[in-house]
């Protein structure tokens, strides 16, 4: 469906871009993701999928886990696609003409000129939904890939689309710089992945994961033998490349710059989706991953993400460091090859993705309440934490939802984030790792400081008065407002009826671990 969607939109956008607004293309892409999710859900059968099924010549392996998380990815992706550029004041673009349009203005006849406002509107982000479909195709191919070649192709399909997404706002110097940095460093990490894959292949002659898994379990204790050391080196380099992609410390330096430089709508995608697919890939193919390296990276991510975040005054940079810290927690849970580790990883990924999505949606909605004369970028209206000052007095509901999401991120009970951290700490304790449990507790307290700093700013009186009147906040997208309401209620009331999610995660983890 995704491939059909991409082919159709590639043909449709040039033909019908005169009539189709960016919002409509967003909605059509949303439909494609929705239908893809429906098609995956249609084949979600526990018994047959529990042992995994190889498809398309064994290049892909579908399991209950890959199928369930594919649905989750498609739902999250479709929600993010509902953030239409109008919600970021894209209409103001009409006032900013590029050199290209000045040139066209001189060239085109009056009969054509009547279409120009629409064309101008569309130029910047009209390709955004199409690129999102490309990256989603890469993501859902990656999570069920069962071969080194398909793994690499999927990662690149996902990454190339992300580089384009990052540089989509070509009028912004910071976005272009961030995109270039992302491209160069992403290219470097791809080299690591390719080198790791090549080493694995050159010393085993295998590319299929199932065969590699069997080989690794057979050689098990005889790892000292020379030729198999190269297999270990290959997996180590492959893991480094993948950790680079998810922005885990100490390979995280690109993440804050990129997340801060790109439009907020793109940051929302970058902070949640690519990580999700690579982390699921880690879960699906844990034999390919060096668990000691994961633990070291987790420790560093927790420390760097929490401590460095304290010094940030830009909201998206702060959230980037927060993301690094959360990736540390996920990697820590993932490094334990136990069913508890798997369950806590799955739960943390789920709750983190939902909370993070809610935070970015609210950030975009709060950006719409700013006076357009007070903002420096129409794509990222809120750049500094100080811009959130006094927002509670203009939009109490959104501010409270924002605060609750941040409380959840910091792990305050009884919100969903608390349970996520509790499960990870519990897993670490059950595996006798008291030191890392202590590190999680301390870093959670440290990160709470910067979350509280944002919440404090929200509730302080606005002295600059750069917010438009309450009546002006009527231009908030009702669709996004409903989504924020649902996500916030989920974050708050998860503890009242947690059984469906916990049972589903337990079932998925059990089938993945034992079958």
């Amino acid at each position: 469906m995704l491939l059909l969607g991409i082919i159709t939109l590639v043909m449709t956008i040039p033909l019908a871009s005169t009539y189709l607004s960016t919002i409509l293309i967003h909605r059509i892409a949303f439909l494609v993701l929705l239908f893809s999710g429906l098609l995956t859900y249609n084949t979600l059968y526990v018994t047959p999928l529990s042992s995994g099924i190889g498809i398309l010549g064994g290049l892909f392996q579908t399991t209950l886990l890959s199928h369930s998380l594919e649905i989750f990815i498609l739902i999250l992706g479709s929600i993010i696609l509902l953030i239409t550029p109008s919600d970021e004041k894209i209409k103001d673009l009409n006032k900013t003409t590029t050199n290209m349009f000045n040139y066209w203005d001189n060239l085109v006849s009056n009969s054509v000129k009547k279409f120009l406002p629409i064309v101008k509107n569309n130029t910047q982000l009209i390709d955004y939904p199409l690129i999102v479909l490309f990256t989603t195709l890469g993501m859902i191919s990656l999570i069920s890939s069962s071969d080194l070649i398909i793994m690499f192709l999927s990662i690149e399909t996902q990454s190339f689309a992300l580089y384009i997404l990052a540089t989509m706002n070509r009028n912004s110097e910071s976005a272009v710089a961030a995109g270039l940095k992302y491209f160069l460093l992403g290219g470097l990490s791809s080299c690591f992945i390719l080198l790791g894959s090549s080493l694995i292949y050159s010393y085993t002659g295998l590319t299929n994961f199932e065969s590699l898994n069997i080989l690794q379990s057979v050689i098990g204790q005889s790892f000292e033998e020379n030729s198999y050391n190269y297999l270990a080196i290959g997996t180590l380099i492959l893991t480094i490349g993948l950790l680079f992609k998810i922005g885990a410390a100490p390979l995280h330096s690109w993440a804050p710059d990129v997340y801060d430089g790109v439009p907020t709508i793109v940051t929302t995608w970058l902070t949640i989706m690519p990580k999700l697919s690579i982390l699921i890939f880690f879960i699906m193919n844990n034999f390919l991953i060096d668990s000691n390296l994961l633990m070291i990276s987790a420790l560093l991510s927790l420390l760097l993400g929490s401590i460095t975040g304290l010094a940030q005054y830009k909201i998206k940079r702060l959230l980037a460091y927060s993301t690094i810290s959360h990736v540390g927690l996920i990697l820590l849970a993932l490094s334990y090859d136990t069913i508890n580790g798997l369950e806590s990883t799955l739960f943390y990924i789920t709750q983190y993705s939902i909370t993070s999505l809610n935070i970015f949606l609210i950030l975009i909605l709060l950006g719409n309440t700013l006076d357009k004369n007070s903002i420096t970028s129409i794509y990222s209206p809120i750049q500094y934490i100080s811009q959130l000052r006094g927002k509670f007095y203009y939009n109490p509901a959104l501010s409270i939802a924002f605060s609750l999401s941040l409380f959840s991120m910091s792990g305050i009970p009884p919100l969903i984030g608390f349970f996520g951290k509790y499960f990870v700490i519990n897993t670490a304790l059950m595996n006798g790792n008291y030191f890392l449990s202590l590190v999680i507790v301390i870093t959670s307290v440290i990160s709470t400081v910067y979350y509280l700093q944002i919440i404090k700013t929200l509730f302080l009186p606005d002295t600059n008065n750069n917010t438009i009147s309450i009546s002006g906040s009527n231009n908030l997208s009702p669709i996004l407002v409903y989504i924020v309401a649902i996500l916030t209620l989920f974050i708050i009331f998860f503890m009242i009826y947690p059984t469906p999610i916990l049972n589903s995660i337990h079932m998925i983890a059990t089938t993945q671990y034992y079958c």
């Binding site: 019908a16 409509l24 909605r27 439909l31 098609l39 042992s51 859902i140």
Partner: protein
């Protein structure tokens, strides 16, 4: 791993683990066709509902968009129905009606001196490759639509075709 040889636990008898495209379409139930129609109509309806909640297009724009949404609904609806029919062939869903229909069809083909699953046009190696590529491919329809359009001998229909080749 050879996907032509994998055995999967199913709740119902397997009719054909890699049915030909035409067979899947022929065996669609009325409910599948209704779902296909429903999704074809549903896609533009969702678009209209979103437009009602948050208008974002002019009248001409919405007409074009509705056309595209209907096309996607048609494609998505077909893939959905194809999956439903395939699930019955694989024995993942209740398939008593299809089992009986298949038995009659196979018996008739064998009585007429025809190959039960159609005459293969490729050599054995190519048949294996085709089967490995298309077997259970409907599970990945969310990404790539891939159908079996060849006649091959890998069907794993151990208890259905009375004298058919398994």
């Amino acid at each position: 791993m050879s996907t032509a040889e994998q055995y999967i636990r199913t709740e119902h008898p397997v009719i054909d683990s890699d049915p030909h495209f035409t067979r899947v379409v022929r065996y669609m139930r009325g409910s599948d066709v209704a779902a296909w129609g429903g999704l074809t109509v549903g896609a533009p309806a969702i678009l209209l509902a979103l437009e009602r909640v948050r208008p974002g297009a002019g009248p001409k724009g919405i007409n074009v968009a509705l056309g595209i949404a209907t096309a996607f609904g048609f494609m998505g609806g077909f893939l959905y129905s194809y999956q439903k029919s395939s699930l019955r062939f694989w024995g993942w869903e209740e398939n008593a009606r299809e089992l009986a229909k298949n038995r009659v069809e196979m018996d008739a083909r064998i009585a007429a001196g025809l190959e039960p699953y159609g005459k293969p046009t490729m050599d054995e190696g190519a048949q294996g490759v085709a089967a490995r590529n298309s077997k259970y491919a409907a599970l990945k329809f969310s990404a790539i639509p891939w159908f079996n359009t060849t006649n091959h001998k890998y069907h794993l229909a151990e208890n259905t075709a009375s004298k058919g080749e398994n």
